[in-house]
Amino acid sequence: MDRDRPPSSPGLSLRVPGFAFAGVPVLGGFALELRGGETTALLGPSGSGKSTLLRMVAGLLPAPEGTRIAASDGGPVAGRLAWMAQQDLLLPWLDLIGNVMLGARLRGEAPDRARALRLIEAVGLAGRERARPTELSGGMRQRAALARTLMEDRPFVLMDEPFSAVDAPTRHRLQGLAARLLAGRTVLLVTHEPLEAMRLAHRVLVLRGTPAVPVEVAVPAATPPREAHDVAVLSAQAALLESLAEATAEAA
């Protein structure tokens, strides 16, 4: 699997001048540096604009005037990022391997079938290549979505609550799998789950205040993926939960 990992992904710097939705300011102005090859988790109360920010970075929403999104290596950002959403978004008319190779097909490129097969194996779905999404469980579908995201082989990976639609044990396994397979990429992970952030992220940010700006929260010293039963992770998770509760109270 090592050849599927970029040796070092560039960092990503964001400068957002502030963002209003229907006249109400949602995001305040801030600058944010995502360090190359690291996972940065972004948390915040509902409606704090975390998904909006992620969608802006992904180019799915028009960014407001003055927004700057730049890669640290000076290269372009567009075309170098992969997107993983809360829903698996598997196309029901394609089988598993067809879904994993979707990006290449859409761009009119020849898909790398051997690599798709390796990734399907890596997410533990070997033997189900021809299965339709309806024949897969929710956890399997999300693993298929992860394989599709990795198939894009992009240095920047944007994840919008990628594991929130599955139950806790499945989520736990998926997090470990994702952390292993995404190692070396620059990941921006939007989540509402403190434990997920503390297990997976090198840096954890909470959107606080009105309009919201990201505030850094301390993380345990160990490098991710961290063990869920690690005492440092648990206490960091508790601190993060409190910070989130405060942020929610501020926003209310």
Partner: protein, 283 residues
């Protein structure tokens, strides 16, 4: 933008109730129920004719109709074959045209601005009112009937498919955008397959409408076809023959609908009802 959708919805609502989403556990049980209902209706019919002593040229008994069906089988079959060809050709042409216009509307925004109002306005013209014109222009042969069936099928197909093309799951479009898919690929590889179940609903409506178009065309002016045969028989008080032709027409329409439904289910295994099942979050 939603005008077309609403027009289609109201039109569908006004159409004959279609068994759109059957949940029959066993086809055999359903067939048995249909058979019992059919036999019951025929018995009631017979009872009514016997009790009221209707003259046979007003309401023939089931036995007379059955006799006509058997005795005139070759004539009925010949006319039925003509009508079936009109229906099938109309169905194919109407579907191709309707699907093509829906794709055109989706692919080219100017087409939407110029064509959509015309399409909606065209629905204000009763299709039956232009049947004499079609006969005038295309003659008494099959062409005018095929045109009639095509016109009647075109709109439900175009509106259902266009609706389907527009209502693509937004997440799929986001995903395609993030993958850097060109517009054309999004239309052909995401929107189009995603809209096929909607096109299938349009086709089911079309299959129910097509025989109406063909028969109305035959009534207005024809030298062959079940509609012609029925009108001819009616004029000569051969009511039994008329009923026999009507039965064959109804049987043909039903067979067409069920054949199409079975075909659509076979080629589109991802019907919307199945997608919702797949969206459950349990692993």
């Amino acid at each position: 933008m939603s005008g077309l959708a609403e027009a289609a919805a109201s039109r569908r609502a006004g159409a004959a109730p279609l068994p759109a989403r059957r949940a029959w556990p066993r086809p055999a049980a359903a067939a048995a129920r249909a058979l019992v209902s059919g036999i019951g209706l025929i018995a009631l019919w017979w009872l009514f004719v016997w009790a009221t002593d209707q003259p046979h040229f007003i309401l023939p008994s089931p036995a007379r109709v059955a006799t006509a069906l058997v005795d005139r089988w070759d004539i009925i079959l010949g006319h039925a074959w003509i009508t079936l060809q009109e229906i099938l050709l109309g169905l194919v042409l109407g579907t191709v045209l309707g699907a093509a216009v829906a794709l055109l509307l989706m692919a080219f925004p100017p087409a939407r601005r110029w064509l959509l109002p015309v399409l909606l306005a065209s629905q204000a013209v009763p299709v039956f009112a232009i049947a004499p014109l079609l006969t005038l222009w295309m003659g008494f042969g099959m062409a005018s009937k095929i045109a009639m069936a095509t016109i009647i099928i075109f709109f439900p197909v175009a509106s259902a498919f266009y609706d389907g093309l527009r209502r693509t799951e937004p997440g799929w479009l986001d995903l395609a955008a993030a993958m850097g898919a060109p517009r054309r690929a999004v239309l052909l590889r995401i929107r189009l397959p995603a809209a096929l179940p909607a096109l299938a609903s349009g086709l089911r409506v079309a299959a129910a409408f097509a025989p109406i178009g063909a028969v109305v065309g035959e009534w207005v002016g024809a030298s062959a076809g079940l509609g012609y045969l029925m009108l001819h028989a009616n004029g000569r008080s051969q009511t039994d023959l008329m009923f026999a032709a009507l039965f064959v027409l109804a049987a043909m329409a039903l067979a067409l609908w069920f054949a199409l439904d079975a075909l659509l289910r076979a080629v589109l295994p991802w019907q919307p009802d199945r997608i919702s099942e797949g969206e459950t979050t349990t692993p």
